[in-house]
Symmetry: C2
Subunit: 325 residues, 2 copies
Amino acid sequence: MKATAKAHTNIALIKYWGKRNEDIILPTNSSLSLTLDGFYTTTTVAFHDDLSRDVFTLNDQIIEGESYNRVTKFLDLIRNQSEKKHLFAEVHSINTVPTAAGFASSASGFAALAAASTRAIGFNVNDEELSRLTRQGSGSACRSIYGGFVEWEMGSREDGLDSHAIQIASEKHWDVRVAAVVLSSTEKKVSSRAGMKRTVETSPFYTGWLDSIPYDMKEIKAAIREKDFEKTGSIAEANCLKMHATTLGANPPFTYWHDTTMRVMQTVQEMRENGIPAYFTIDAGPNVKVLYLPENEDKVKKVLEDIPGVSDVTLSKPGPGVTYL
Amino acid sequence: MKATAKAHTNIALIKYWGKRNEDIILPTNSSLSLTLDGFYTTTTVAFHDDLSRDVFTLNDQIIEGESYNRVTKFLDLIRNQSEKKHLFAEVHSINTVPTAAGFASSASGFAALAAASTRAIGFNVNDEELSRLTRQGSGSACRSIYGGFVEWEMGSREDGLDSHAIQIASEKHWDVRVAAVVLSSTEKKVSSRAGMKRTVETSPFYTGWLDSIPYDMKEIKAAIREKDFEKTGSIAEANCLKMHATTLGANPPFTYWHDTTMRVMQTVQEMRENGIPAYFTIDAGPNVKVLYLPENEDKVKKVLEDIPGVSDVTLSKPGPGVTYL
């Protein structure tokens, strides 16, 4: 009744941006990510018959409130499919995604929770089934079940059975690196969840966004297969710009960008003009992730660290999928 | 055979962004602007029978090249409708749109050229006819024929006869002020003309942009009539964000924004949070124009001047239409 799993975070190269079902988390478009070696969560789940409620600790701190509720809601999903509906769990998570790296912990967090809790309760699930379960905890987490380059196929079924991740290429296929650039000011006035929802409901650009995904997806998969860095990077960068463009059309309009976000984008474009291939991508927040190749690591790190308003640059290689400890 | 006219520049609150006919300049959407008192061009046109080509001076400098070609092409349009097809002209323009204010000189320039050249050659044109002629020199210039709040009705005819400006409210209707905020770095990698064209041809957001215009136009006209500053400003700001969003979806994507552009936008939003109503709008370049009310002039100017990376803030009131001197 106890298991421990480790899962890594991932960075989307084709963004997940919009839900068609908020309850079981079904997306309006397929997305594609790279799992990252540097940032992971290790979670132990133990079901006990002498607990009166779930207990959740993160980095040895007892967690209550919204984060606790999301964890217990996910455990309900697991419990309710078993014969042990009335057992509660102790969940201990250690998050080694440095807060300073600016990644949401939900991707690695829910992937590790799903893996540990299913194993602890005695389910024998394959990766596809695990990804589908994980999706219901946190959408982008379903991609962290796999290592390397991963697609989340949106599916078309209302019950979500065909909405899960698949691996496009393993972490050993291609050593593309990611620099996580964190800004001194990381204020975010609109949450990812609320921003996504407002955009889907009000932006006149949302249809254009959706229409552009199948082509981007087809092209980036070919580019990854061919290890074409320029093509992979430019599709990812353009896709990120499109995602952020949709928020500018929302009512009321909003943006996740700060002035320093803009400066990092300009700097990455200047690096390219100076012969260093590098491309940016930005999630629903002001921080920037920069894709580069191993041979340019020192130069890229130096250039990014020297940008005024940047507080931290953390590097990562492609990482593996879920493992059990 | 000689006449002098003065025309003011204008700032679009609903942007002109896309041509359906590049030859006679027909837009893909209607637009709306405020003519500005502070920035104008005075032009004298004199047709002579002893010239072998047109002569064009701007601020007492002889102009050749692309700018000269646009002027002679416009004069051809006028000459070819007269019995004096073979006369050439001396054109002397004085541009008091300070370069430092970051306005394109083409709006006031072509409005003054159209007014002076038609009068010099002896045409008796009304404002609507003059606006239609002006449009063929420079699209947004057709709005500068009128003072105050002006709509450029896109029209639907292929010959452009129904594509011209009309006045919505005179400069005396409502004293809304504009601060032209110029950045230290004003580099612009994509011209307005090229950016517009690339966006129309490649951005998946262009249809969404067009679809949103009729509502914006209806709402801002009502807001101007009611002198509702919050409504006028927020529609203008949202419309500008939508225009700039379309460029992020172009292939290849581009933006006119710099990091300082972003900082000015953030500062304007902060002013509002601090109780000073102010709204921004941005044309196809990095500079920002800020709308405010007269009672907040000192505060707004001070706040904008104090932004790092801002080199100049120039203020203006609503201005009149074309006048003859």
